[in-house]
Symmetry: C2
Subunit: 453 residues, 2 copies
Amino acid sequence: MTTKFNPKIWPSTTTENSGVISVGGCSLTSIAREFGTPAFVLDEADFKLRAQQWKSALDKNFGANAGTAYYAAKAFISKEIAHWVEQSGLGLDVCTGGELAVAKAAKFPADRMELHGNNKSETEIADAIDYRVGTIVIDSLQEIERVAKIAHNKGVVQKVLLRLTPGVDAHTHEAISTAHEDVKFGFSIASGAAWDAVLSTSKHESLSLQGFHAHIGSQIFVANAFETSAGRLIEMLAKYKTQFGSELPELDLGGGYGIAYVDTDNPNDPNSILENLSATVTAECHKHNLAVPKISIEPGRAIVGPAMITLYEVGTTKEVVLEDGSKRWYVSVDGGMSDNLRTALYDAVYSINLVNRTSSAQLIRARVVGKHCETGDIVIHDVRLPSDIVPGDLLATPATGAYGRSMANNYNHMVRPPVISVLNQTARTIIRRESYADLLALEVDEPPRKISE
Amino acid sequence: MTTKFNPKIWPSTTTENSGVISVGGCSLTSIAREFGTPAFVLDEADFKLRAQQWKSALDKNFGANAGTAYYAAKAFISKEIAHWVEQSGLGLDVCTGGELAVAKAAKFPADRMELHGNNKSETEIADAIDYRVGTIVIDSLQEIERVAKIAHNKGVVQKVLLRLTPGVDAHTHEAISTAHEDVKFGFSIASGAAWDAVLSTSKHESLSLQGFHAHIGSQIFVANAFETSAGRLIEMLAKYKTQFGSELPELDLGGGYGIAYVDTDNPNDPNSILENLSATVTAECHKHNLAVPKISIEPGRAIVGPAMITLYEVGTTKEVVLEDGSKRWYVSVDGGMSDNLRTALYDAVYSINLVNRTSSAQLIRARVVGKHCETGDIVIHDVRLPSDIVPGDLLATPATGAYGRSMANNYNHMVRPPVISVLNQTARTIIRRESYADLLALEVDEPPRKISE
């Protein structure tokens, strides 16, 4: 008998026993009974394994020039996750005061942190400097002045990188190298904005320019995209050396490494990605007569994405006759677009499995939908599921760890699901399920204040 | 001097004084100073005015046959909103236990409520029946059994409507009448599912079938869409009379009435929409020799949408050179896709204005973006803004009342903005701004539990 789940997509500790799927040694039927549904189930061992794979691959391929593997908090963060990241030897990339607040609450080592963002407030910058965040990645000319002023006032020399837009479109079958990028982030190399930013930064004694950063996108499978970007940043390092007579010590090549959501996705492993990147960086630096700088990366989705699944209970099923006479079977679960926004937001495609029992029933054309009052509330547009699925059955969507709980909302006043961490046949809640009382707690009964016109 | 805001899009109490915009007699500069940004600003008088317009238009055009104008909670709900809805004489349409919990907390009159949803849990159904919710709108065969059983066990005869799919595509320039609809909601008339549902419902003594419901979509401008749908439901009423020898007393024609987001949107007023609908309903009922039933409607967006705006502060600006040599000016605000998901989710188009001062500067091509770590975090894709906008200026997006705060999330650990209600030169918080502590409060430190495999 073949396993019914694809191990490329499911967490690495996933097993099957008589049709019941377990993660971290915990059967999903038990998880549903103990913690309720919907629920995110996070494989602690898998998370740490993937984190360590990226860290090891960076160390192995860049040796003494390995910088920091920053975990990108935006994919999913909590204090517990921050502890795991720290224990695994990675750094942490935060991009708002809220993400910084989690890091502070977890006492994450500040020197292994960087602060991102295209519109950091003065408060966020001041908080980051007060916490002694290792690196601030600067995104605009106004921000150069802003960070410089705040650092100066605090008597701090702040290490900074400049975020550059290298003109690499990585969202097609091959990376297209364009002159420009129509995005809010960074300084364009092609337009000269990047060099202006270097000159502007160098005028401030409170800023210590360490090098450049680029992030070329998300969920990238294109082989040469990261290399093309690295090459352009290294040209900027060479220009810096020519003009300033010294070399910048660091390059942060960002993240965006794709993961598998469905059978046809074939992501490369961390080692082969960084092996290729190392070869390019070494060759380009050699070409420009530069020492290889410290190389940092920012995997987020590639660590937490495959480590987490979403567990649902089926509520209703319905056969709908389509215009061409064919039939579609609608299967409704107890969550939806409030816990997985990516299907509606990006037309993202996921897998789903029956996880509480075997079924030898015929597979039929199905659509898995949520319980929101919205037609677009679809979990999986088109999937083949056993025709004997009934209310009470459990379904699970793998690879929901990144941008699942982190983008969840309370649309229709649905409460957000808990995150249950599983490890070695034990389970514990690390983020609890919201309650209606939580939602109502934001409502206040305040007397009106007189306001000037 | 012409006003710089389009009164068709802004709340009805909006005024301008030397470039400073006020809503409810409160200047947005004062609101920003007193309550901070980003913030939702809700015009209480405008909300109540629009609610009453729908209620009056229903009463005027249907006379003794006017049913209930249900406010659709999914657009935006809180206890305070529920009070306003009640005071305005409307009913309330809820579609989850969470929305029901708000109604209960506000002590909303149960007989003026209906419960919707394609996948109501047993708990939600039981809670609704316990609260004596007037109408449950049933969506699937399984739900007929579920509601019947729960009502029976509680010794209640529950009034129900059946949600039907009439086969009307209202999202084009004219309503297309198709045989089928590929949606999760309701019972298809064309396939026979609707009639099966009637037969199934009629077998249960704990269910009292009142009639039919249809909801053909959202943000609809198409003139004849509602009439086409009503005609098909009335055919079903006629079939019922033929088969059962009695007439069903109610028809709920749903919502979906479009509002203006930009200058080119031209929604009809409630009276003309319901005048047309009344003519169709009367003619169709006459044709089928039926008494006109009670007619209910469900406006949501059309009431709260135009009554609320989002107030932002500018953080950074940046000129980006595009591939064709032209320039785009990126203006970053202190919110983004976490408080207005509709731009990213539906390619929705909004307006935006400088609201804190006059500007005689040239208007230039701009894109307003948020502060999230995501390229798609765009508030307005393409808009002309004064070229002298600088950090600290205030911008406001009107018509964000529906599906704005209700779909807001904490992506990047951004806290959700408050809702500030304004009226007659006074302002008060009805939903407070979240804090980082609120977000961290969901994290728990629980000992692991042993779970069976």
